[in-house]
């Protein structure tokens, strides 16, 4: 009665253990993953991943976007960065948001792909500030 959750960053395997439920910040809204979920591949926006044991949250992590693969038995999250929520630093988060907004201002608005990418970074930074606050 558990999904095996894996959170991986390019630099290392961050977390790998079974949980009862995990809520991931998918691009089109948060998604709760229980055992037996339909196989899915989704993109993630910046936000928090909540790990549930029973109906209690045991661990919360901030991710800055990435991808997730869900199958009936497991949930694999590929993130560039994942930090325990307790370690998210508000000052860092605010600096990141300022940088992201500056980058967005400077971005070429005629190219929607570039604009969207810059907007994603801003959104992820904003989520990080919220997570810290």
């Amino acid at each position: 009665m558990a999904v095996s959750l894996e959170i991986v960053s390019p630099e290392k395997l961050l977390l790998s253990r079974p949980v009862d439920m995990v809520v991931i910040p998918a691009a089109e809204g948060d998604m709760g993953v229980l055992e037996g979920h339909t196989p899915m591949i989704v993109t993630l926006r910046g936000g928090t991943i909540d790990l549930y044991e029973g109906d209690r949250i045991t661990e919360r992590l901030f991710v800055d976007g990435g991808f997730a693969e869900v199958t009936p038995e497991r949930c694999t999250v590929l993130a560039n960065k994942a930090i325990p929520l307790a370690e998210v630093n508000k000052a860092d988060a605010e600096r990141r948001l300022a940088e992201a907004e500056a980058a967005y201002e400077a971005a070429d608005k005629r190219d929607t792909a570039i604009e969207d990418a810059a907007l994603d970074v801003v959104q992820s930074a904003r989520a990080m500030v919220e997570a810290a606050g």
Binding site: E6, V8, S9, P10, E11, K12, L13, A26, A27, E28, T38, P39, M40, I41, V42, T43, F67, E69, T71, T76, L78, N80, A113
Partner: protein
Amino acid sequence: MPSLKALRTRINSVKSTQKITSAMKMVAASKLRRAQQQAEAARPYAERMERMLRALAASVAGSPTAPPLLVGTGSDKVHLVIAVTADRGLAGAFNSQIGRAARGLVRRLEAEGKTVKILAVGRKGRDYLRRELSSRIVGEISYAGKRRLEFSDAQEIGVQVAAMLAAGEIDVATLVYNRFQSVISQVVTEQQIIPAPPPPEGESADLGGAIYEFEPDEETILSKLLPQALAIQMYRALLESAAGEHGARMTAMDNATRNAGDMIKRLSQNYNRARQANITKELIEIISGAEAV
């Protein structure tokens, strides 16, 4: 016959060289261990990324709007060669074998009438390629002075390459790097990264027949996943190359230390022989002087 003093200085200088090479060998050994660990730690992400990519690629196969990172631009006129070398020398043939391979590849492509551009990663490779092929170099990257390779370094290269592709400056990209096989052997590897090589036959079955749902649609995910996959390939190549570099330096320095040992032995023998000869000569002089009296 060199003088005793000259021999003595010579022996001392070889001894200090030996100290340096053996210290470098030990440093390389510890860096090698670290580089190997880092390469090991990067594996899970790459494997899972590949699994997702395969599922996605299978579902957009044949679609006319498939992104160029996956299927290429439809032409193969302009090739980009990414040569990955070290920033430092004293690692045996490590850097020059990449230089040679890259040069061979460039010549071969040009003989086929293609245009070639070079992206030189690492200072040594840049210096080597600049001698003959400087007009083809479009960019160079060096990590000299960096203590540890990070994923963001690889990502920068990925972004740069993807931008070149998007701007229509290149059609095909090939990575040339040293793959770490063992401490004594690094294998020069040419790996095509754009368009993405097709997955090996028969391996797509391990998805267990699962049909994935995609959210948002396949192409949006692919457009985000592909640059990341490119960066991952770069990251792996950089890590392999780093491990290879330390391995190569370890072997080179081990040889150098051994050679210095042999040289010291030979020089000391000469020194002792010369000393003995001097003593004998002095004795003869004293004895014959005494006899003359």
